[in-house]
Amino acid sequence: MTDTASTDTLAIVLTDSTSGPQNDSLRTSVLAENGSVSENSSNWIPYAVGIGILILVGAAVAAMAYRVAQKRQDEKRREENVFDEVFDDVNNADKAKVLLKELKTKLHPDRFVSSDTAVMEAAQKIFQELNESKYSFSELQRIKEKAVDQGLISE
């Protein structure tokens, strides 16, 4: 170890001589007057911190994306594609018109005036459902089945 002292600072030159002169690595420390030591070779710390932060942010984004994907998968399993039914209904719009006309004739509340109150109320409820679903062939079929089950019409 070689010591070099100036009037203002004391410079200490440390030599790592374990692997021979040609493989020496040189570390230089400057010992200031007030005794504090600064290392020029510690520039890697900010980069390491930056990379660490990037890794953490990346992990957080990946975790978020995974949770969102899990949620979507669960919902998809529960729901069918509602638009398949919509396209079927558009395709069957003409059949829906014919079926609607048939059901409106058979299920008109005036046909059940002489029946008991429960039957009249059921007929009114079904007629209201008819008006709400008049464009949907699948819904009209369902309403027809319901009316048959309740005994309001025969098949």
């Binding site: 979507r72 638009f83 709400e132 949907s136």
Partner: protein
């Protein structure tokens, strides 16, 4: 973690809106292959601020355009609109996902536009 949950919800809502459009386009392609007379395509638009409701998002329009097949005049646009809007579950889903206007445009720019909130049956 509340902020994290909020971010997850926000991403989830945005992806659900894109899912709706993707589901529509997928059903449209399937229907066209099976003989449906019109090739329709859905997209998200700015919507109409007059139809705003409490769940409306920034881009709140659900637009359906015809891309091919038979001529789709205003009457057919209205028919398609009525069928979509009579499906209350679908209307509720569109409202929940932040849409407030549905627009259906056929050939020559003729079309049909309606606010979803007014079409909810109580």
């Amino acid at each position: 973690m509340a902020i994290f949950d909020r971010l997850v919800d926000w991403f989830g809502d945005a992806m659900e809106r894109r899912d709706i459009v993707r589901d529509f386009n997928s059903s449209s392609r399937k229907a066209w292959d099976e003989g449906f007379p019109f090739m329709l395509k859905a997209q998200i638009t700015m919507g109409d601020s007059a139809n705003k409701h409490q769940f409306s998002k920034w881009q709140s329009g659900f637009r359906i355009l015809t891309r091919g097949g038979q001529t789709m005049d205003r009457e057919k646009c209205s028919m398609v609109a009525m069928i979509i809007l009579s499906n209350q579950a679908l209307v509720r889903k569109l409202i929940r996902c932040g849409f407030d206007t549905i627009e259906i445009y056929g050939d020559g720019g003729q079309g049909y536009s309606a606010g979803l909130r007014q079409l909810l049956l109580d």
